[in-house]
């Protein structure tokens, strides 16, 4: 029972933590890109390309956490069902 409770709490906490970290990282990237864009508007294409790739790399890390959430969410439900039966 404690295991299920801890698992449920952790499953709920995993995505917010990943989102906070990813948001900070994306904020740093966005700040740097905007500063570079304001300083050198003629390099807009290169900066945007790098910005999109970097944001995608950061975002994929958050998506991993979301996938883990989806996987563990079903696990919690089956565990609760099993505990309810026994």
């Amino acid at each position: 029972m404690e295991f299920t409770a801890v698992l449920a709490a952790v499953v709920g906490l995993a995505v917010p933590i990943a989102v906070i970290a990813g948001a900070f990282a994306q904020a740093k990237v966005g700040t740097a890109a905007m500063e570079g864009l304001a300083r050198q508007p003629e390099a807009a294409g290169d900066i945007q390309r790098g910005l999109i790739i970097t944001l995608a790399l950061i975002e994929s890390l958050v998506i991993y956490a979301l996938l883990t959430f989806f996987m563990l969410q079903g696990h919690v439900a089956t565990l609760v069902e099993k505990l309810g039966q026994s």
């Binding site: 390309r49 999109i52 790739i53 995608a56 975002e59 998506i63 991993y64 996938l67």
Partner: protein
């Protein structure tokens, strides 16, 4: 991505012959439909080609080809337009498959890991092939790394890196599109529950289902458009970056 998902194509899935049933599911059939759509579009755009475009279809085709070519040249450098067919086809195919999920009654084939893994394997095999074709056996040298005497360490790291590229390329697309579909469904259910609980739907004189779709569906569809476009762009762009790393003559390209 199973038979219980509501879709117009369910009727095909349910009437498959027994030998084909384990290999064909809803996503595969949807991707075939998308493939047929792309083929018909390409055929329509390249029929009756004139030296100066006179039909709208030819203008669309020329515009798309010009866009892909300039994109690849900007990404890979001079000579990058040779890869425009591969990268442009990946972009168009993935974009239309992503957008399929926004049409009511269809599911995105890319919301299944099978589809995205197949796309990622295709892209990365093409990367290795272009690396060998451009640089011959010297392509293998980039697995060795910069100080050559570190090769017992660097070769496994580079090989693991190739597998990690495969995983990140496929799981990123899968996670984003799957997440988009799940989020749209969950938020619509949540809005419907909330609207059924308070008096808003009574005041508006419409059932909670309809008002939740009207309030929640349109912004979520706009979000879905954005996610679909960006993920297709990122897949094509990362393929281009990997090709550029494989054919570049510098040593430090990992």
């Amino acid at each position: 991505m199973h038979e219980e998902v509501g879709s117009w194509l369910n009727i095909i899935v349910q009437h498959l012959p027994a030998w084909a049933a384990p290999y064909v599911n809803l996503g595969v059939i949807t991707s075939w439909v998308v493939l047929g759509l792309v083929v018909v579009l390409a055929w329509r755009c390249t029929r009756n080609l004139k030296l100066v475009a006179q039909s709208g279809w030819q203008t669309i085709g020329e515009w798309a080809y010009q866009l892909a070519t300039s994109f690849c040249e900007g990404l890979i450098g001079p000579g990058g337009e040779r890869f425009a067919p591969l990268i442009g086809s990946l972009f168009i195919y993935i974009l239309i498959m992503n957008l399929t999920g926004l049409v009511p009654g269809f599911v995105s084939p890319t919301a299944s890991l099978n589809m995205t893994l197949a796309l990622a394997i295709t892209a990365l095999v093409a990367v290795q092939y272009y690396g060998f074709r451009e640089r011959g056996w010297r392509y293998l040298l980039h697995f060795v790394g910069e100080p050559w005497w570190l090769f017992p360490l660097m070769i496994p790291i580079h090989l693991i890196g190739e597998v990690a590229r495969l995983l990140s390329l496929s799981i990123r697309l899968f996670g984003n599109i799957f997440g988009k579909e799940v989020v749209i469904g969950q938020i619509l259910i949540l809005l419907g529950t909330l609207l059924a609980m308070n008096r808003l739907s009574v005041v508006l004189r419409v059932p909670a289902v309809i008002s939740s779709v009207a309030i929640g569906h349109v912004p979520l569809l706009l979000l879905g458009l954005l996610v679909s476009l960006i993920q297709a762009l990122i897949f094509a762009m990362l393929t281009g970056v990997y090709i550029q790393g494989a054919i570049a003559t510098e040593h430090e390209t990992g």
